[in-house]
Subunit: 324 residues, 2 copies
């Protein structure tokens, strides 16, 4: 039996975020989980809006995901993309046919004046995602990366160039002007527990925290705030995190990552391989849960979620006792 | 050996139009055929522009067509459509995945400011269509049908309701204001032979002739003008023609159809089953070619095309001798 928490918010992006969401959705009662998703990776392809982090969340939480690659629909075909290639369109973004169905629908709904929040919730419900998914904002936020080749959009760098050009600087275009999602802020206010997924903090979490209102809402929240490390033994589980940190002169350690959260966390779940950093983290005022943070499959993710929820309940109990 | 005609224009729509185009493309030297396509059946689905007559021409002329149904891409899948159905979108228009590739590309190109003429020619070339395909106009023309249920758009009537509600009146919205394609008018001016495909004259040919400039360009042309009957033994080969004619009080005979062309034709190719109408047609000043007009397969279509081209060459020779 996990916990009876009824209001958990996960702040997430990427494959690690979706896996953590799946674990929490399995561990929590139905309706207890709200995922706030990064939109900094969003981009338009052939005039269709693609939201990779939202899509990966929907597909993972509805069991449609291609588990081998971590994104896209399992056993999807690429007939539309093949035609687009024949028509000389750039096709480095691997959009499958079922996947196109969602992008077509989303773009159609956006053009009809519906908000990304409405559209995302409707798609998640219709496709059977087992959690509420909220984009961090209805306004466009676009992560840009400065490399030796100049400023690049996220997807052309991440997918098109396979993270090859080293990143010297990051910015989140639109984040300053973007309005935080009202629904997401309300979820944070109502939360008992806020979990930061083991996502890339620079590419998935900070584009959310950069939106006016999020950081203060999280600070003001009475919820316990737990981070989950995206590093194991100082290496990224998946994706370009380690190289990105190095390129930007950030320490590739759980402590280096924890510092990015800049006072937002009460506790940090780290891998036992990084146990040596416990003192450093505790010195920064963080409670530490050392465990196996690798999520190879949904069962792993659920086990990790249960551990985090149990630990969080214990921490919360401790705080309440200390306060009374 | 067919003919050496180097400038043939086919005016076409629907499955009959695409089959005639294929026959002529096979019979003529490369580069000799230009097809002017109806756009009155065009419609938008999920914000994507679908041009059924142009698509059927492209797929037929590039050997991608589903020959059994006469439209769509052979062996296409419907994964995107399945997702759209799960998302509660209307899915009565059967758009396949490869097919979506073309619609996505076209809509993207239109949004970028390219004309339907540019887009259609590029798609036809890239997809390997063996003829030049020109939309009758870059402006939207939409065939509307008045039924007992009120005015309906074409596709909801044709596909959505399977031509069920009887048609009491037809109109071609936008045709009066539409500008005829410059390229199409130039092709008509340069043509030695203009063929009207065995398409539905009301749904495929008249939306083109209703555009200002087409009728006069065809009348002014020195080309020989040949119609091909869409009826066999007073019945439509395919589609709703016979019911449509009856509903509108038009005679379901080749003569009834020929009269719709209203002086535009020099000759009319009819099925031998309608031989009895030869005198009626000749009385209206038409030369008559009685033959087997049913196109079951590309070989049939080529045989019919060769007969029409040979007959046209003979008629042309006769006219030239008569004039000299």
């Amino acid at each position: 039996m996990p916990t009876s928490a009824s209001n958990v918010v996960l702040i997430a992006g990427g494959v690690g975020g979706a896996r953590m969401a799946e674990g929490l959705a399995r561990a929590l009662p139905a309706g207890a989980l709200t995922v706030i998703a990064n939109v900094g990776d969003d981009d338009d392809f052939y005039g269709l809006r693609v939201c990779p982090d939202i899509d990966t969340l929907i597909y993972t939480l509805s069991d449609r995901i291609d588990r081998k690659q971590g994104w896209g629909v399992a056993d999807d075909t690429v007939r539309a993309l093949d035609v687009l290639r024949t028509l000389a369109a750039p096709t480095w973004m691997k959009l499958g046919d079922a996947d196109f169905g969602l992008h077509i629908w989303r773009s159609w709904q956006l053009a009809a004046g519906n908000s990304l929040t409405q559209i995302t919730q409707e798609a998640a419900k219709r496709l059977g995602a087992r959690a509420r998914i909220l984009p961090a904002s209805d306004d466009p936020i676009r992560t840009k990366l400065r490399t030796a080749d100049g400023w690049m959009d996220f997807q052309p760098w991440f997918v098109g160039r396979r993270c090859e050009p080293e990143v010297l600087e990051l910015r989140y275009d639109g984040a300053e002007k973007a309005k935080a999602s009202t629904e997401a802020l309300a979820a944070i206010e109502a939360a008992e527990l806020i979990v930061f997924a083991p996502s890339n903090p620079l590419l998935s979490i900070e584009p959310i925290l950069g939106i006016d209102g999020f950081r203060s809402a999280i600070t003001a929240s009475r919820a316990l705030r737990i981070g989950v490390s995206p590093l194991i033994g100082g290496k990224a589980v998946k994706g370009p995190l380690a190289r990105l940190l190095t390129g930007l002169g950030i320490e590739t350690t759980t402590t280096g990552v924890a510092e990015r959260y800049n006072g937002l966390l009460d506790g940090f779940a780290i891998d036992t391989q990084d146990l040596v950093e416990t003192d450093d983290l505790q010195e920064r005022g963080l409670s530490v849960l050392p465990t196996d943070i690798l999520m190879r499959n949904p069962e792993d993710a659920e086990r990790l979620a249960v551990e985090i929820l149990t630990w969080a309940a214990a921490l919360q109990g401790h705080c309440e006792r200390a306060a009374s």
